[in-house]
């Protein structure tokens, strides 16, 4: 995203400074969102298409709200109601959208790499809103935003990510982002859910949740994606909960409670006990709220060609 880059496909596209820039800009937008009139004219006249080809509630709504708060025109396009069901290819769909004058396409797709491919077919900005098992960069940015707000800083922060690392795009983006900003990452999962070559990402791994709990400042629980797990990864959800779930017993035992985060939607009784979920609910709601401000920052940065929050503040 350095210089004139107009796409956000992977966290790898961002430098440490660019990440800090986005987080600062997001703070300014968070302030806008606390005003009675939660809207600024920053992207008036721009058209943003939400191309969501995989089910999503919070990310789609979050991007839509972010665009509207910036006064952009938003068109929503989802697989159930589009020509995709008539067999139109992604390439043709992309070209159609671009012909309609979109300035940006926000894409959610079940296939890894689909947003990267779109950049070859359209000339507008492409923003990855989650692709297969690859990445979900705006999720990682909003997670960093919350960690920074709640923990006071990111440098040296100890973050344990627990669960289905192999199938998680959220984990991949968070690992890359946390590495860039100088946080420490510990992955916790049964061996069957740790992907090949994960140690080459510069992270530590453990199979013990108790070890992770004893170590971390932030406990990041991943959703168990039953729909992505084919074959014998673990015997049952009950056994998963027993070994890798944040149970009441584990939670109560902890002297120093970490900040608990989750990308949602939560599977209560699987990765987290329902009572613990209720207790940590405020911080998870905080992630959702931060999502709008962070996505405003990303849209603004990509579409206005500015990385400076000062400029935005000056324009106000």
């Amino acid at each position: 995203m350095a210089g004139e880059a107009k796409n956000l496909i992977s966290i790898a596209d961002l430098s440490k400074d660019e990440i800090s820039g986005i987080l600062s800009l997001a703070s300014s937008f968070a302030e806008v969102l606390r005003r009675p009139v939660k809207k600024v004219p920053a992207l008036r006249g721009k058209t943003i298409v939400n191309l969501f080809l995989e089910p999503s509630t919070r990310t789609r709504m979050s991007f839509e709200l972010a665009a509207k708060r910036l006064s952009a025109d938003v068109v929503n396009f989802s697989s159930g109601t589009s020509s995709i069901v008539k067999g139109e290819s992604l390439k043709d769909t992309a070209k159609t959208i671009f012909s309609m004058g979109a300035d940006a396409v926000v894409v959610r797709h079940q296939s890894s790499g689909a947003p990267q491919m779109l950049t070859k077919w359209v000339d507008c900005s492409v923003i990855n809103a989650g692709d297969g098992m690859h990445e979900h960069p705006t999720q990682a940015l909003l997670d960093l935003y919350v960690m920074r707000e709640r923990m006071g800083g990111l440098e040296g922060l100890k973050v344990a990510i627990v669960g289905d690392i192999e199938h998680s795009r959220v984990a991949r983006s968070n690992i890359l982002a946390l590495n860039k900003v100088g946080s420490k990452v510990l992955l916790c999962a049964p061996r069957t859910l740790l992907p090949a070559g994960i140690e080459e990402f510069g992270v530590e791994t453990t199979v013990s949740l108790d070890e992770a709990l004893g170590w971390c400042d932030v406990l990041y629980l991943l959703r168990v994606q039953a729909e992505r797990i084919e074959g014998p990864r673990f015997p049952s959800l009950e056994e998963y909960h027993e070994n890798y779930g944040l149970s009441e017993k584990r939670w109560d035992k902890l002297e120093k409670k970490p900040l608990v985060m989750h990308p949602g939607p939560m599977n209560r009784g699987v990765e987290i006990a329902s009572s613990v979920a209720d207790e940590v609910e405020p911080s998870i709601a905080g992630q959702v709220a931060a999502g709008v401000a962070v996505r405003m920052a990303v849209l603004y940065k990509l579409l206005s060609g500015s990385v400076s929050s000062e400029r935005f503040e000056r324009e106000q």
Binding site: S10, A12, S89, L90, K91, H109, S111, S112, G113, A114, Q116, M117, D131, G132, M133, H134, E135, E166, R169, R172, P195, A196, G197, I198, E200, F201, E230
Partner: protein
């Protein structure tokens, strides 16, 4: 058609590279009719003269592993466009895999493919027969019937539908051996590779693509070597791609197992890291592009003779099939027209193989393994041989461009690459079928 029986063509001034025999001094080859009528220096002829100065004259290449897509998938390739690609790449014989529609699992389809190849007349087109009916891994296909027909099929493969049932594979080897035939195995344990898109590694994890572990291939290579050893049958391992597969073949050969192996130019030229950030579906192949260590082992296998043959696994796919999400794209790349360039650039120039050794893996090795002598096909470049040879410039550089392909499909992973080594002319059964970029349809 005029009488070509006594027509002469003189190929003048090239360095001759016969197999066996190796590189000889500059010389001329006189063709009369379909045969070589003279080899030597200072031959003169009143017929057409092909200037082969600065070029090598080698036996026509033999492709052991191509997909010509006819019948059934002519929008990807057909026998005519595939034959054009073959002669442009220096091939005078092409074996095609049976995964057509209908599949080549009986003499009628085998005979159709063979006859169609003869009709086109740019290269020998020889079908491999299926091992099992419909390549579904259950019942043996009528191998003897396919062997007896005009196509004289002696090599059998279910190719991408790797035979999963070990007893079926064992019986197939025993039965093929009964007929003096050969089983060619695409080694893949599908229970390990299922859903996989690329080599399992840091790169697949980074790209979020399901991995295909090397063990999916190696388990199957090991099984098939065990079965071939038990059956005392000949076995050819298609497109070897991993270090352990190379080692398994090497050890088996030492024990005297009748096993041979091939590698594709894309597997010795590219690694899985090439996919990083690009999601280029022209890098999606099966077996997948492997790690740098695997490529190193494959090169060692080529150098020490463990890997006998270079075969392209030419697999054309239409643009609309490849310009899709990575997971939706079919496996396979075209290869007939870039193989010589990759062999010279990646193997000869880098000192892995001498030019003679490299050319042997494109000519005499596949010809021996597939029993080409039954067609009177010779790689010796001697007087009396049927004139099948290629004139190429080993120093000429060229850039791979989609519009340059004769194949109907353009799905090459080497687009934009500069390669060294280019075919100037291809002579098939005494006729110039390709010269300086142009194809000359025959009879």
């Amino acid at each position: 058609m005029k009488d070509v029986k006594d027509e002469e063509i003189l190929v003048k001034g090239g360095r001759l590279l016969g197999c066996p025999g190796g590189l000889r001094a500059e010389g001329d080859i006189l063709i009369r009719g379909e045969r070589i009528a003279g080899v030597g220096r200072g031959i003169s002829s009143r017929g057409r003269v092909i200037d082969a100065r600065d070029c090598l004259v080698a036996p026509g290449f033999v492709e052991m592993h191509a997909h010509l897509r006819e019948p059934g998938f002519e929008y990807k390739e057909d026998i005519e466009s595939g034959s054009e690609a073959a002669c442009a790449g220096g091939y005078t014989a092409v074996f095609c895999m049976p995964n057509t529609d209908p599949p080549i699992d009986n003499q009628a389809v085998a005979q159709y493919v063979f006859a169609r190849g003869k009709e086109v007349g740019l290269s020998m087109v020889l079908p491999h027969g299926a091992i099992t009916v419909g390549t579904d891994g259950k019942n043996l296909a009528p191998m003897s019937e396919m062997a007896r027909c005009g196509a004289n099929v002696t090599c059998f493969s279910d190719d991408g539908n790797s035979v999963s049932d070990s007893e079926v594979m064992l019986r197939a080897m025993e039965y093929a051996a009964t007929l003096g035939g050969l089983i060619i195995s695409h080694c893949e344990d599908k229970s390990l590779s299922r859903g996989g898109q690329m080599n399992e590694s840091y790169f697949s994890t980074s790209l979020g693509l399901e991995g295909i572990p090397p063990e999916a291939e190696e388990i199957s290579v090991f099984r098939d070597i065990c079965l071939a050893e038990k059956a005392s049958a000949r076995l050819h391992i298609a497109h070897v791609s991993t270090a352990a597969s190379v080692e398994l073949v090497r050890e088996a050969k030492k024990r005297g197992v009748l096993v041979s192996a091939e590698v594709t130019p894309h597997h010795f030229s590219l690694t899985d890291s090439a996919l990083l950030t690009s999601y280029d579906t022209n890098l999606k192949v099966n077996p997948p592009l492997r790690s740098a260590q695997d490529v190193k082992a494959v090169l060692e296998g080529l150098a020490d003779g463990t890997i006998d043959v270079i075969a392209t696994d030419h697999a054309p796919h239409a643009p609309h099939e490849k310009e899709v999400e990575f997971e939706k794209a079919p496996f396979g790349v075209i290869g007939l027209e870039t193989s010589l360039g990759l062999v010279v650039t990646k193997l000869v120039d880098s000192g892995i193989l001498s030019l003679e050794e490299a050319i042997a893996k494109l000519t005499i090795s596949p010809a021996r393994i597939t029993g080409m002598e039954r067609w009177g096909y010779s790689t010796t470049l001697a007087e009396g041989d049927i004139a099948n040879f290629v004139v190429f410039n080993a120093d000429e550089k060229w850039t791979v461009k989609p519009e340059g392909f004769r194949s109907r499909s353009k799905n090459s992973p080497f687009l934009g690459w500069e390669l060294k080594g280019r075919v100037q002319s291809t002579i098939f059964e005494g006729r110039v079928v390709f010269e300086r970029g142009e194809v000359f349809p025959g009879a």
